[in-house]
Symmetry: C2
């Protein structure tokens, strides 16, 4: 066959396009009303390509979740911080921005919807367990470095990281599922107070 | 008509039975695969009664969400605490038990699944906003009373309550959607440390 077959010649590109179509369909219809038909409507190429790649909606969605969580993990700020306090602050700004862009809100809203499926689906549950482990371990590394640098107190890095990650998940979840942003901003301010009081070596509660 | 009509004679009982059938079907199939058919299979009376009460699945599920959140709110420990510290501790034990009963886990897992629908459904979003307001205000009341009693420091009750509620939501969400309980227990321990360091009037960070 001389003519290029998009599936053979650029599998990554087609895969990425299917993922983007899935994202667009999820945003438009929500998880409960998602169908291959609706994903196909967002896909610029022949719909048969979707079936060439995936056996059905369930298989496609597990691949999509992996794609989404890889992006989530890749976006976490990791490099270029000499000071652990700055690194942690940047992580809070990134995960829980005060004035989130609509892209961020939509992305986190989609993650929230998919996370809820883990209540019923072991494949989702495993993926979110892995992503949570990654995020929490990343925070624990920052805390450990801060202790080594002498800018953080000698706290338990794992316990501190579990707490910070949990608060961030709670705030992201509230942002995706409620109408008022004030309690989320208040929680964020108090999280910064916690970091100051509990972690910062130079501070003491008065 | 002499024979008792269950819909006329005991509307509350029928309503409650429909709600229990919905809960059982949700536990079994998950939100995305829920149908009136499947709810009917869990309902001990004639399925036509379900259609007499509700126009369809969407209307039934909004009523179910209200039923579920009323139970959630009614279960929050509110009375019989003279000491605000004890009251707050009881609230943490209740919301985030160290060894949750399977009933508790299933209930919170169902709440988690329904909460995620709020990412796409305004009726759900309003209900969860209201429930979150109730829970956060309840915590703020405890904090206010603790400050009056002199057992808590003079913190900002709203900000403190928003933070505690957010952490609890995050932990409940993780418990419903991941496989490992250790990070959740670690977050809970750190939440208790936070309460001790930030709130307790007698303590100071060393």
């Amino acid at each position: 066959m001389d003519a290029p077959d998009p599936f053979q010649s650029a599998p990554d590109e087609t895969h990425t396009e299917i993922m983007h179509a899935t994202y667009a369909a999820l945003r438009k219809h929500g998880y409960a009303d998602l169908t291959i038909q609706r994903i196909g409507a967002e896909f610029p190429k022949s719909k048969s390509l979707i079936y060439q790649h995936y056996d059905g909606k369930d298989e496609l969605l597990v691949a999509f979740l992996e794609f989404l969580l890889e992006r989530l993990e890749a976006d976490v700020p990791t490099d270029g911080f000499s000071d652990a306090r700055e690194h942690l602050q940047e992580l809070l700004d990134h995960s829980l921005p005060e004035s989130p862009e609509s892209d961020h809100t939509e992305f986190m809203s989609t993650v929230t919807e998919l996370r809820a499926q883990a209540a019923h689906d072991d494949a989702y549950r495993e993926q979110f367990t892995r992503t949570d482990d990654f995020f929490r371990e990343h925070i624990a590394d920052i805390v450990r470095r801060g202790i080594e640098q002498g800018v953080f107190r000698d706290v338990n890095p794992e316990q501190t990281a579990a707490f910070i990650a949990t608060t961030i998940y709670g705030a992201q979840n509230q942002r995706a599922t409620t109408n008022s942003d004030d309690p989320i901003l208040a929680a964020r301010r108090e999280l910064e107070e916690y970091v100051r009081i509990r972690l910062s070596a130079a501070e003491s509660e008065t």
